[in-house]
Symmetry: C2
């Protein structure tokens, strides 16, 4: 596959690296962005993204294989399919939103093109992640990375 | 520049697209990840990432130009520099963490390689974004995108 990464990278035992292997291609997260906004059909993705037919076709296949998108037939003879996000795909929303909020802050000299607002409340969004236990908003200094069950050499990873 | 995107993509008035123009290259967010973990020197990035010399050199230059990294001299004759994240760079933390949490959930069959914990509290992290007004945890269905000042044709963008 043309988009495969070098071995050294692929074998990194890190969830950031693994995620980027799948969605680190720049078109991929734009496809997810559009699917989150309700785009589902091949021609509509093409029109939105201005992406080459073969590139879009490849990315949609990869995302479907990976379980991020699922195909749903909406027409017979000839068969035509829509692409919908699975739960796994919808769970990329925080990634897409964090990129949007960062771009709004640093790459939008005229101000945000679109304002993300809490529907019905009107509040803005904070990119801060929160602690599930105490609810505190967290920054880089507040988080430590402890060895997990999937760490190299851990019992769980010895198969 | 080899990593430039096609025109159609570059000109999208969208903060997600703009962010991905800068950090959508798969190595770039791994460099940011490592810098967040305290990696600052060229050879250390190389050792961590297994990335080709010229690719790393190109990405560090681009990130420095874009204001994500800053160079700090740590040795004279010959001059040697470290790369440190600026505030703009540190603010990519939620992007990196969202990718990590997503990978932990969907791409870690043996469990997370590393467990991100709230330092001193031990709580886990939620990828949910929150509303700055009411503090509610938000999902894709809770957010609307209103036209912002940087939208095409808005007064602020007519220069």
């Amino acid at each position: 596959m043309a988009v495969m990464l070098p071995r050294t990278y692929q074998h990194q035992v890190c969830s950031v690296a693994r995620s980027l292997e799948l969605v680190g291609d720049r078109w991929t997260l734009l496809i997810v962005r559009d699917a989150l906004r309700g785009v589902h059909r091949f021609d509509d993705f093409r029109a939105q993204l201005g992406v080459a037919h073969n590139v879009l076709s490849d990315r949609l296949s990869r995302l479907t294989e990976a379980g991020v998108l699922e195909r749903r037939r909406y027409q017979q003879r000839p068969d035509r399919y829509e692409y919908h996000l699975t739960q796994q795909g919808r769970d990329l929303w925080p990634v897409v939103m964090s990129l949007l909020l960062w771009g709004d802050r640093y790459l939008a000299p005229d101000g945000p093109p679109k304002l993300p607002l809490h529907r019905g409340c009107g509040g803005r969004l904070t990119p801060q992640l929160t602690c599930t236990d105490c609810g505190a908003g967290l920054g880089p200094g507040d988080v430590e990375l402890a060895p997990g069950p999937g760490a190299k050499g851990s019992i769980a990873s010895r198969k």
